[in-house]
C-alpha cells in the first residue's frame, strides 16, 4: 500500500471538525479524486498528506512510514504539489521553475538541465519555452508546466488542488488528458481535489465523495453512477448525468423482464397454442429442460401446421437473436434496435434463458439518454421502467453501508 490514511481527524481551534474519521488506502498508480461541496474537508484532507496541515489525530503512512515522524520539508520534496493558481514563480524562467525541487535536492546542474528538457517534452511544449517567463505563457501552458514541475524530482505521489478550476473547458480537457496520460503511462499516483463531477468521473480510478468532513462514498466512477449511496451523492452527480450515463452503466439484466414465456421442445402444438393464448403473446421461447435457449416459435409458423400433436421441436425457429444478461445496454442497444425484432431473449453465460428485453424498454432508455431528462418526472412511463427504478433503489440500498 503506497498511501494509507487511518482515522484522520482535523479539528479547528473553534471546535469545528473539518475532517471526521477519514480512512483511505491508496495503491500505486491509482487516480483518486476527492470531490464535495466547499467546506467538505476535501482540500484539508489532501493538505495533510504533505503536512501543509497536521491532523489532530489519526495516522498517514507512505510506504508504511508514518509521515508525522518525517521531516516535513523532506516529505514535501518527495511529493508533487500542484495548486489552482498555478504557483509558478513569476520571477523565474520556466527552466528555473521546473528545476526548483531538483535544486533543493542538490542535483547537479547537468542533471537538472536534462530533466528540464525531459519535463517540457512531457508537457508537450516546445523546448524554446524553457527560457521564457511564466507571464509570457497562456494559462493552460502555465498549468502544463505546473503539472510537470510536480514530477521533476521523480515524485511518486502528486497532490493536486483544483488544478484546472480556472481554465476554460477546452484547455481543461487537454490538461485532463495530460494528467491521465501521466498516470497511465508513468504509473504516478494522483490525489486530485475537484468540485467538477465530470472531471472526477473522467479521471478517477476511485472517487471519494465528501460532505461536512465525512466520507459519503468511496468507489469507482461506474459504481458510483450505478449505485449512488444516498440522495446527497445523487444530487452531487446530478439527475441528468445519471440518466445520460444509463446506457453505459445499466446492464441488460437490469431492464429485462424476468419471467419470459418459454416452452420445452417435447410439448405439442396444442400446448403451445394454449400457452400463447393464456399469456397473450405471439411468440414463445423454446428451452430445453435445463433452461438452455434453443430457439423460438412464432404464431405465423404455427398457423401452417395442422396436426395438433406435432412436437414443438419440429417447428422451432433456431436462428434466434439473443443478448447476454451482463452486457451493458450501451453496447447492445444498437444491435437490438437494428435487428428490428420486438423482443430479445436474454441469456446468462451458459446460455440459460433468464429474461427478455422489450423494444419499448430500450427505446425509453435511449430516448432518456438523448434528451437528458426522464420522460416523465414523477411516474415512470411504463411498468418496465418502474422495475428499473425499483431495482436500482434496492441495490443502491444494499451497497450503501
Amino acid at each position: 500500500m503506497l498511501l494509507s490514511m487511518e482515522h484522520l481527524n482535523k479539528e479547528y481551534p473553534n471546535g469545528k471538525l473539518a475532517v471526521d474519521d477519514f480512512n483511505l488506502q491508496v495503491d500505486r498508480g491509482e487516480f483518486i479524486c476527492f470531490i464535495g461541496t466547499s467546506g467538505s474537508g476535501k482540500t484539508t484532507t489532501m493538505r495533510m498528506i504533505n503536512r501543509m496541515l497536521n491532523q489532530t489525530s489519526g495516522t498517514i503512512k507512505i510506504n508504511g512510514k508514518d509521515i508525522a515522524k518525517m521531516d516535513p520539508v523532506k516529505l514535501r520534496r518527495s511529493i508533487g504539489y500542484v495548486i489552482q493558481n498555478v504557483g509558478l514563480m513569476p520571477h523565474m524562467t520556466i527552466k528555473e521553475n521546473i528545476e526548483i525541487v531538483p535544486k533543493l535536492l542538490g542535483w547537479s546542474k547537468e542533471k537538472r538541465a536534462k530533466q528540464a528538457v525531459k519535463m517540457i517534452d512531457l508537457a508537450q511544449l516546445p523546448q524554446e519555452m524553457l527560457n521564457r517567463y511564466p507571464g509570457e505563457l497562456s494559462g493552460g501552458q502555465q498549468q502544463r508546466i505546473g503539472v510537470v514541475r510536480a514530477l521533476a524530482a521523480d515524485q511518486d505521489i502528486i497532490l493536486m488542488d483544483e488544478p484546472f478550476g480556472a481554465l476554460d473547458p477546452i484547455t481543461r480537457e487537454s490538461l485532463q488528458e495530460l494528467v491521465k496520460r501521466l498516470q497511465e503511462d508513468l504509473g504516478k499516483t494522483f490525489i486530485f481535489v475537484t468540485h467538477d463531477m465530470d472531471e472526477a468521473l473522467h479521471l478517477a480510478t476511485r472517487v471519494v465523495i465528501m460532505s461536512h468532513g465525512k466520507q459519503v462514498q468511496v468507489d469507482t466512477p461506474n459504481n458510483i453512477l450505478r449505485h449512488p449511496a444516498n440522495e446527497f451523492v445523487t444530487n452531487l452527480i446530478g439527475e441528468e448525468r445519471l440518466i445520460r450515463a444509463q446506457p453505459n452503466i445499466l446492464s441488460v439484466s437490469q431492464i429485462m423482464l424476468k419471467n419470459p414465456v418459454a416452452i420445452t421442445p417435447d410439448k405439442t402444438l396444442d400446448d403451445a397454442i394454449d400457452l400463447m393464448h393464456s399469456r397473450r403473446v405471439d411468440t414463445l421461447l423454446v428451452t430445453d429442460t435445463d433452461g438452455v435457449l434453443e430457439g423460438y416459435v412464432d404464431l405465423d409458423d404455427i398457423n401452417r401446421i395442422t396436426d395438433a400433436t406435432t412436437p414443438v421441436s419440429r417447428f422451432t425457429n433456431r436462428e434466434v437473436f439473443y443478448v447476454q444478461a451482463s452486457s451493458l445496454i450501451g453496447d447492445t442497444v444498437d444491435r437490438i434496435l437494428k435487428q428490428g425484432v420486438k423482443n430479445v431473449p436474454v441469456v446468462d453465460a451458459k446460455k440459460h434463458l433468464v429474461g427478455i428485453v422489450t423494444r419499448t424498454a430500450l427505446v425509453d432508455i435511449v430516448y432518456d439518454a438523448l434528451r437528458g431528462a426522464p420522460a416523465t418526472d414523477e411516474e415512470p412511463a411504463s411498468p418496465i421502467n418502474a422495475d428499473i427504478h425499483a431495482a436500482a433503489t434496492h441495490e443502491g440500498g444494499e451497497s450503501s453501508q
Partner: protein, 208 residues
C-alpha cells in the same frame, strides 16, 4: 561661482563627505532595522498596524525637535544626527517592505512551501525577490528624505552641507546658502538615480 569654489572648494568636498556619511549611516541603519521588521510584521496577525502607526507618529515629530531631543541622550555631533535621521528613514522602508511582502501572491508562498522550501529558502528565493521592487522604492524615498533632512543636522554640530546654509542664513550671504543647497539637491538627485538603477536591477524581468 568660480570664486566661491576657489574659496570654499576643499570645505565643500569635506562637508559633502560628512553629509553623505551621515545620510548613508542613517539609511543603512534604517534598512537593517526596517526591512527585517517589515518582513516580521507580515508574519504576525496582530501588531503590524500598531508598529506601522508608531513609525508614522515618529515621522510627525518636527525634525528640529527630534534633533534637539537627541542631545541629552547622545550629546552633540554626528551620532545624535544619525540616530534622528535613522528614525525618519524607518517609516517609508517599513511600510513598503510590509506592503511588498504582503503583495506576494499567497499561491507563490503556498507553492514554495508545498514544494519543500524551508522558511528561509522561501524568503530568499521567492518572497524577497518578488517584493524587492516595492522595498527598493521605499528605500529610495527614504534616501531622498534623509539627504534633505541631514541639512538640519548641522544645527546640532554634526557638520555636513547644512553648515554652509546655516552660516549663510546667519551672515546674510546668499552665495553660502546656494553653495550648500545646490550640492544637497544634486546629491539627492544622484543618489535617487543610482538607487533607481538598483531598483530596476532587482526587479524581475517579468514584472518590469
Amino acid at each position: 561661482m568660480i570664486h566661491f569654489l576657489q574659496t570654499y572648494g576643499m570645505q565643500l568636498i569635506s562637508k559633502t563627505g560628512q553629509h553623505l556619511y551621515i545620510s548613508a549611516a542613517a539609511l543603512g541603519l534604517g534598512v537593517i532595522v526596517a526591512v527585517p521588521l517589515g518582513i516580521l510584521l507580515t508574519r504576525m496577525k496582530h501588531g503590524a498596524n500598531a508598529v506601522i502607526t508608531l513609525a508614522g507618529v515618529l515621522q510627525t515629530i518636527p525634525a528640529m525637535a527630534l534633533l534637539a531631543m537627541m542631545i541629552p541622550i547622545f550629546g552633540i555631533g554626528s551620532t545624535p544626527a544619525i540616530v534622528a535621521l535613522f528614525i525618519y528613514s524607518l517609516l517609508p522602508i517599513l511600510r513598503n517592505t510590509y506592503l511588498g511582502m504582503e503583495g506576494v501572491s499567497p499561491a507563490v508562498r503556498d507553492a514554495a512551501k508545498g514544494m519543500g522550501m524551508t522558511w528561509w529558502q522561501s524568503m530568499v528565493r521567492a518572497e524577497i525577490p518578488l517584493a524587492a521592487p516595492v522595498i527598493m522604492s521605499g528605500i529610495r524615498l527614504s534616501a531622498t528624505y534623509v539627504i534633505a533632512w541631514a541639512t538640519l543636522a548641522s544645527y546640532i554640530g554634526a557638520g555636513g552641507l547644512g553648515d554652509f546654509i546655516f552660516n549663510g542664513l546667519n551672515l546674510y550671504r546668499s552665495d553660502l546658502i546656494l553653495g550648500g543647497s545646490i550640492p544637497v539637491i544634486i546629491l539627492a538627485l544622484v543618489v535617487d538615480y543610482l538607487l533607481g538603477r538598483l531598483e530596476a536591477t532587482v526587479t524581475p524581468r517579468e514584472l518590469r
